[in-house]
């Protein structure tokens, strides 16, 4: 013990700020949130403990369940599209021989990931506008389709959320997949070619199995964020589509920040945490993540 301390003492000291950071900004708020969820929280004055009343309020609130449904639909759609789209693009880019094209495509795909949702949201609100938006102009001029108010019609609202989210983060996930593909041993392709494998068969029997571990990591990371969608909805929602797109984090924001029901918001947050934990465990089990 002492020997270890002597040898690695400096490293342990270096860890102190990191541990402090997580204790102060990670676990303390978590513990406080849990405590507040059992309180009749007033901004000033007494905050008596009321047992599971806040949880009862959330549980019996139809808006909470509607928000959960919206979250699962939008988050689930983003999870599937956000997984498949970059995978397909990464596989396609891997087949491109011109390196300048590959690099340019990668860069262009990655740029939206660097932009904040405020910028991306504003941009898409403009692009999808029914009178001056590029999307509607193209639809009108090429297919003679009358203007569609994508961000105001219930039927389109969720689809737009999923597609825009996929577009924004496609580049990031694509780079992860490409990194996995680059790490594949070239002799495997050589062996496949000697066995007479076509390009598609090389992808099917060499590339995909070899990047399985990367795919599992990407899927699990995206699952962790599934119930935490907020910025995108905050920017792109409007009162006309609110019932179809208001997600769990928006519900928490509304209860806590807009309505000042901090106890109820804390209870909803704890439930989101539990749901995320369950979801992650399910995905881990289904993907056999431990075998990575």
């Amino acid at each position: 013990m002492l020997k270890t301390w002597r040898k690695y003492g400096a490293l342990y000291l270096m860890m102190i700020p990191v541990i402090c950071y997580f204790l102060v900004y990670g676990y303390y708020p978590l513990a406080r949130g849990l405590q507040i969820s059992f309180q009749d929280y007033r901004l000033i004055g007494n905050r008596p403990y009321i047992g599971f009343d806040n949880y009862g309020t959330v549980w019996h609130d139809p808006n909470f369940w509607k928000s959960l449904t919206n979250t699962l639909v939008i988050g689930g759609g983003s999870l599937v599209c956000g997984f498949l789209a970059p995978l397909i693009i990464a596989l396609s880019l891997n087949e491109v021989l011109k390196s300048w094209f590959k690099k340019t495509a990668q860069m262009l795909l990655y740029v939206p990931h660097l932009l904040s949702w405020v910028v991306v949201g504003g941009m898409w609100i403009y692009l999808l506008s029914p009178d001056t938006g590029l999307v509607n102009l193209l639809l009108q001029r090429t297919l003679d389709i009358p203007p569609v108010h994508f961000l105001a019609e219930s039927g389109w609202a969720r689809v737009v959320m999923i597609l825009v989210a996929t577009w924004k983060d496609m580049g990031y996930n694509c780079i992860l997949f490409l990194a996995g593909i680059v790490a594949i041993n070239p002799s495997l392709y050589e062996a496949a070619r000697l066995d007479g494998a076509t390009r598609w068969q090389q992808v099917r029997y060499v590339t995909l199995p070899q990047i399985q571990s990367t795919m599992k990591v990407v899927l699990l990371l995206n699952t962790l964020g599934l119930l935490r969608i907020f910025d995108q909805v905050f920017i792109l929602r409007n009162n006309s589509t609110a019932p179809d797109v208001d997600v769990l984090m928006y519900y928490t924001y509304q209860k806590g920040i807009l309505d000042f029901h901090v106890g109820v918001a804390a209870a909803a947050s704890v439930l989101v945490l539990i749901f995320t934990l369950l979801l992650t465990l399910i995905v881990r089990k289904l993907t056999r993540f431990d075998e990575v």
Partner: protein, 519 residues
């Protein structure tokens, strides 16, 4: 109006408490001494920094401004040299504000110094750049102590009262020579700031106007149209704006009307005698916008949408986009605040002094009984939090804020920076012109204080309409839930994506199911 001023906050240092680390063996003294040294260094550093902070505060507290306090009305008295230490502590004030103060961090500092010069109170004003409501909530929830917090939403004030956040100011207001004077604040106005118990929990920070349709008067004249009075008049005017090329560019690129969601269509709903938010009828909660009487009104809007008269982006517009459409000759009518009539005119005139652009407020559409209903905006107010440390200073400041020097400071700004005064004549500096005579108080209640400058073009007429027709809305705590349902279906009906009758039926069904209306 929010100005993007970087948030200025006082930094605080916290001391790290460390428990002794158990170590054994020969190395104990060495390891222990290292840790002790590290902790000592950290502590010493913290203390030094804290000391620097205190010394900075002290020096700023003892600046060259005299602690004098007399203003024109003699209301805010100053601390003099005999001030005891307890009294000295009470001449400090910490304010959280969304609008009041300087436009830049530098000007904010001078603003604070100006308050000290005028009142003797050492003020710190914190003005978050954005997310003001969140800042208020987190500050209160985390136990931060402010002496005054600015608010602008009566629904939120009621929540603050319910949660014990606000101090009861009834005795102070009624006992204050300044604030109890009906010429300073009309007596009936105080009803806005009363809680359910009839006590006053806040003090106005400025006079808040109302909203109404704002029309391009020059377009009306160009197309030889009269100001609309009835809903049919409105339809004809808006149709002409959309179809008769009022901007004269030979293209059909204008809309008759633009709004920002459901935000203030009150001037049109007035035609059916419908008031926004809740209306109590025989002790029962009703929402007129969710009543059958609203169906023809939503159909009227749907007709405007179908005929390309209403800007199709009205569902996703924010108010800035709506104003920009108006300023860039894309739309002939919007619905917005009285003060903005002047600002819109001023903006275009500053761009082009020869412009024909003329914005003018119009009264809403007449109801069946000839009555017009406009919307009075929720007032901006100051509240004293229950945990305030300097209540007396806060009260002194509130009296000052409604006196002439306070009003001049809140409107024109800082003497020597925003304006100069020579023999009672005020002259705005270039900085003052840029700041638009608004440092939190563009308009005020106090009838004894005459405005040094004329109002911007069109404002007075708009304010006259507010005084004549606008009334406050009833905001019950459950309104935020009800509003989601009402706006959702109203927007669907107005944009024509759902028949108005179905939308209202669905609205009523959901409001009743959620126990948000009684009738």
């Amino acid at each position: 109006m929010n100005f993007n001023i970087p948030f200025k906050n006082s930094s605080r240092l916290s001391h790290l408490a460390e428990s002794p680390v158990p170590v054994h063996g020969r190395q104990k003294p060495k390891a222990s001494s290292r840790i002790t040294l590290l902790v000592s260094l950290l502590t010493l550093g913290s203390m030094l920094l804290s000391a620097c902070g205190s010394s900075a505060n002290q020096s700023s507290g003892s600046n060259s401004f005299p602690a004098n306090a007399s203003n024109a009305n003699g209301t805010a008295s100053a601390s003099n040299g005999e001030t005891s230490s307890a009294q000295a502590a009470d001449t400090k004030l910490r304010i959280l504000s969304s609008n009041v103060g300087g436009k830049t961090p530098e000007e904010m500092k001078r603003f604070e110094e100006e308050i000290k010069r005028l009142t003797g109170i050492e003020v710190t004003i914190e003005k978050p750049a954005s997310d003001y409501d969140q800042k208020v909530l987190t500050a209160l929830g985390s136990g931060e102590k402010y002496d005054l917090i600015e608010g602008s939403d009566l629904g939120k004030l009621n929540m603050f009262i319910d949660q014990g956040v606000t101090t009861d100011l009834t005795d102070f207001v009624q006992g204050s020579k300044e604030l109890s004077d009906p010429t300073v604040v009309p007596t009936e106005e105080w009803d806005q700031l009363k809680g359910k118990d009839g006590h006053i929990y806040a003090v106005f920070s400025k006079f808040q106007g109302g909203t109404m349709p704002i029309v391009r008067k020059d377009w009306l004249d160009k197309l030889h149209l009269q100001e609309p009075k009835t809903l049919d008049d409105y339809y004809n005017v808006l149709k002409a704006f959309a179809e008769r090329d009022p901007d004269g560019n030979g293209k059909k690129d204008t809309y008759g009307l633009s709004t920002s969601g459901l935000y203030d269509i009150q001037g049109f709903m007035s035609a059916a005698g419908l008031k926004y938010r809740y209306v109590m009828k025989d002790g029962k909660r009703t929402i007129p916008y969710a009543s059958d009487a609203a169906i023809p009104m939503y159909e009227w809007f749907a007709k405007l949408t179908k005929e390309g008269i209403l800007d199709p982006n009205f569902v996703t517009n924010d108010t800035a986009k709506m104003r920009n459409l108006f300023l860039t000759d894309r739309v002939g009518m919007i619905t917005y605040w009285d003060a903005w009539v002047g600002m819109l005119n001023n903006t275009r005139q500053e761009e082009d002094p020869n412009t024909s652009f003329q914005a003018e407020a119009v009264a809403g559409a007449e109801g069946p009984d000839g009555k017009i209903m406009l919307r009075r905006g929720d007032p901006d107010y100051w509240m004293v939090p229950a945990n305030a440390e300097h209540v007396e200073a806060a009260e002194k400041f509130l009296e000052f804020w409604h006196s002439e020097p306070g009003i001049i400071l809140g409107s024109l700004g800082i003497e020597g920076e925003d304006y100069t005064k020579d023999n009672g004549t005020y002259t705005l500096t270039e900085t003052g012109k840029e700041h638009g005579m608004d440092h939190g108080v563009p308009f005020w209640y106090n009838e004894n204080v005459k405005a040094p400058f004329d109002k911007l073009p069109g404002v007075q007429a708009a304010q006259d309409l507010v005084k004549q027709y606008a009334t406050l809305e009833l905001s019950l705590p459950e309104w935020s839930d009800a509003e989601k349902i009402v706006t959702n279906y109203a927007l669907k009906a107005m944009s024509g994506s759902m028949p108005a009758a179905d939308a209202v039926k669905q609205m009523q069904k959901e409001l009743k199911a959620a126990n948000l209306i009684d009738e």
